[in-house]
Symmetry: C2
Subunit: 467 residues, 2 copies
């Protein structure tokens, strides 16, 4: 894809203005915007104000919009020369995780600095450097450079910066219900995800969904003494264990009829890409204390994690669980189950099939009840959409490597909110790395992530303008 | 078996002295000897003193022997005319259960009285009327009648009355360690068990044993997010459920190799007796909310309960068990298991086989650990022993029905103590009924149980004298 001459100037500006951009990031990091702790309420407001001022510098109109909790930053830019250009919503969050255990930080968490890292080269050290202050600034700096170099930005942009992402987004739903029309754009660009590795960019192209409920089974009508009843009495812990066992075959395939209906085999191109990138399955497994992958036989680990649905037992309990022995045959047993879903699976259908299957495992002497179930479908972004092509080209041009199409084993709440509430497509591009220590001591963001991230977004702005 | 002429006089005395005997029982019941509640410490001592005085009335030497808790009553009678006669130990307990919920009693628990019961005819109402003041007095009254009528008792008797049976017998072991030789006799006669029904006597002839431990399994080395790891990660709740399921086949037989080694098929005579007595399986099951018996296929319910070993899951837990959903793959899962054992099974061997079998169910990615295990073998009394024949004849003579040979699905601690600590055989004869409401409001003891029980023991004393 040919780049405009403006783009070359913008990229040059980003390179020359790097130190100024880093100063802005360091100032942003310096504000202790820990959203989960009420003691930092004012800091959160300050961080919102600073981000808002950054937007104004880049030519945006911007407001710090109150919510029931920490405010949202809502910025708007309408292209002067290109008012009919595509309209994108950029999402990031200005709040950060707490810093405990503070004694495990080797440097002060809020005094950002460039540190030499043996594996990654120069990195930006500090809380929020990656998640998500550094990531969101990659986009803001790209927009600023366009504005400063050309006096305009060639696309229409809404920016939404949340202040409660790290504490469960309690105000998001209400805000979107009220201000949704101010937020809605042609698609959302979200910068809160990972590269494949430090040299290889990535687009997160699919997220698994979720469906879950609790099952309770009752055998005898009361707890029984195993001496007085053991033998003839039905034990619901045994019955529930058997029902759970029946969910899987020896190759870890889920045995619920219809469970795989509509599920496609993993995209061969993506699978080949993952394989060719040399993902280290052994390291992934050893890190969690395992020697082999326990998903469906015949699939590589990343396919098991990103492309295949699961049924997990998240909790199981019944009978006496205190210290010592109690010879009880319990009346009841319980389990919490969740499924990770993939594209093609309808959560409502899956829940029904799973409950039907479980019910059928018990005989007439077991009463089975289910809690209210809930679920959300998986998301698989359409790779043929023009914004996807723009992002792929921009990343490839910048990194000189094709971006890897990543999956994500879990859902991302903001994606769900945008897709469900605003019926808006999403594009997930981020420059974080697995070793960024987000949510942990010594968080960092590779300097190359910041630089290449900023330049990649500058390229995308150019690409989106001619979609 | 021909009865001596003395016996006829003793039985007549019991009939004519019934009201006096009941008065003694009512006085005994009136003492609130609730052993588990320290507020009733003095009452327990009073009950011991009263029982001791009853023994002295019957010609015994008797002491109220202190222990670390409530005292033991230890009585001794040496036959004047028959000093070489068999020596029996009679065991009962003078302590009773608390009376809560007191509001559910229809009459005062400690003011014993005769009440007309629609199913049972006249019954003695009051706490301890059955368990165990009424039961133990059946023997003491029989001994008293022998002493009063003949000026002697034709056998040697030690009486041990415990005051802590209802609170776990904390002082028993220490007492037996110290005074075991004062207690030991040719065999022990224990009166704390049941008749078959109100018209049919019984001897409890076998008790199941117990063996148990806790199993803990660890899959991943920490709790994992099911979005980040679900699929490839091993779930220990699933693994443990599968191991538990593998314990049983479709006919509820335990699949552990060697589990049934040494286990005999149920005694056909006993099984036939149970069948012919018309035990109501449906009622037994409906009472606990079940429609069918869940023990091994091919065995009647009482065989499953008394003659067949089991593996029960008494507790099972792991993962998130609070309200709501948590998409965790837990690191660990736990279960508590106990086996009810029957004659021929060695607890140590069973524990080892069971642990070996369980271990073999897990793959290399699961670490398995077991808690310290403990167990006690089953007891099957030798039906060919002379005291057994005496008891059977005495009961048959009195009730004009053959006594049913009962099993007991659980162990009885005092039997274990006598057999293990004092290597003493036991004979379990009692006159309680399932509907006596022991440990519950409105405890009662059938007047016929008291009368026929007393007369049966008078007959046994006669029978033991010529063994």
């Amino acid at each position: 894809m040919p780049n405009s001459s403006n783009l070359e100037a913008v990229l040059e500006r980003l390179d020359h203005g790097r130190d100024e951009a880093l100063k802005r990031l360091f100032s942003f990091i310096a504000i202790e915007s820990i959203s989960t702790d009420p003691a930092f309420k004012d800091n959160c407001l300050c961080a919102a104000e600073l981000a808002s001022s950054y937007l104004k510098d880049a030519g945006f109109s911007s407001e710090v919009a109150p919510t029931t909790g920490h405010p949202m930053v809502l910025g708007k830019y309408t292209s002067k020369q290109n008012p009919n250009a595509p309209h994108i919503l950029f999402y990031g969050h200005y709040d950060v995780q707490p810093v405990d255990p503070i004694e495990e930080w080797t440097r002060p968490p809020f005094q950002a600095e460039i540190v030499e890292d043996p594996l990654n080269g120069p990195v930006i050290h500090g809380r929020g450097s990656s998640d998500d202050k550094g990531q969101l600034l990659t986009f803001l700096e790209a927009a600023r450079a366009w504005f400063e170099v050309t006096g305009d930005i060639p696309i229409n942009i809404t920016v939404l910066l949340e202040g409660e992402e790290e504490c469960g987004s309690p105000s998001l739903d209400g805000f979107l219900a009220e201000r949704g029309q101010d937020v809605k754009a042609d698609f959302a660009l979200i910068c809160d995800t990972l590269q494949w590795d430090k040299d290889t960019p990535a687009i997160t192209s699919m997220l698994r969904g979720l469906a879950g409920f609790e099952i309770s089974v009752e055998g005898p009508n009361r707890d029984l003494h195993s001496g007085m009843y053991g033998g003839p009495a039905h034990n619901p812990l045994r019955a529930l264990s058997q029902a759970i066992s029946a969910l899987y075959d020896d190759e870890n395939r889920v045995m619920v009829p219809g469970f795989y209906d509509g599920v496609s085999e993993p995209d061969t191109e993506m699978s080949a890409q993952w394989k060719s990138q040399g993902f280290d399955e052994t390291k992934f497994l050893n890190d969690i204390g395992l020697k082999k992958a326990h998903g469906e036989t015949g699939y590589q680990l990343l396919e098991q994690l990103w492309c295949r649905p699961t049924v997990e037992i998240n909790g199981l309990w019944g009978g006496y669980i205190g210290p010592g022995q109690k010879t009880v045959i319990p009346s009841k047993a319980h389990a919490k189950l969740t499924c990770r879903l993939v594209a093609g699976q309808n959560p409502v259908t899956i829940i029904q099939s799973l409950q039907d299957f479980l019910k059928a495992q018990f005989d007439e002497d077991v009463k089975v009840t289910f809690s209210e179930a809930d679920g959300a479908p998986a998301v698989a972004f359409d790779l043929s959409k023009p914004q996807m092509s723009v992002a792929r080209s921009a990343l490839e041009d910048e990194f000189e490597k094709q971006p890897v199409m990543l999956g994500c084993g879990g859902s991302i709440p903001i994606v769900e909110a945008f897709m469900q509430r605003l019926e808006m497509d999403c594009l997930l591009v981020g420059y974080g790395l697995n070793d960024d220590c987000i949510h942990a001591p010594d968080e960092k963001y590779n300097l190359s992530s910041f630089q290449k991230g900023t330049r990649s977004f500058a390229r995308m702005i150019d690409g989106f303008s001619s979609m």
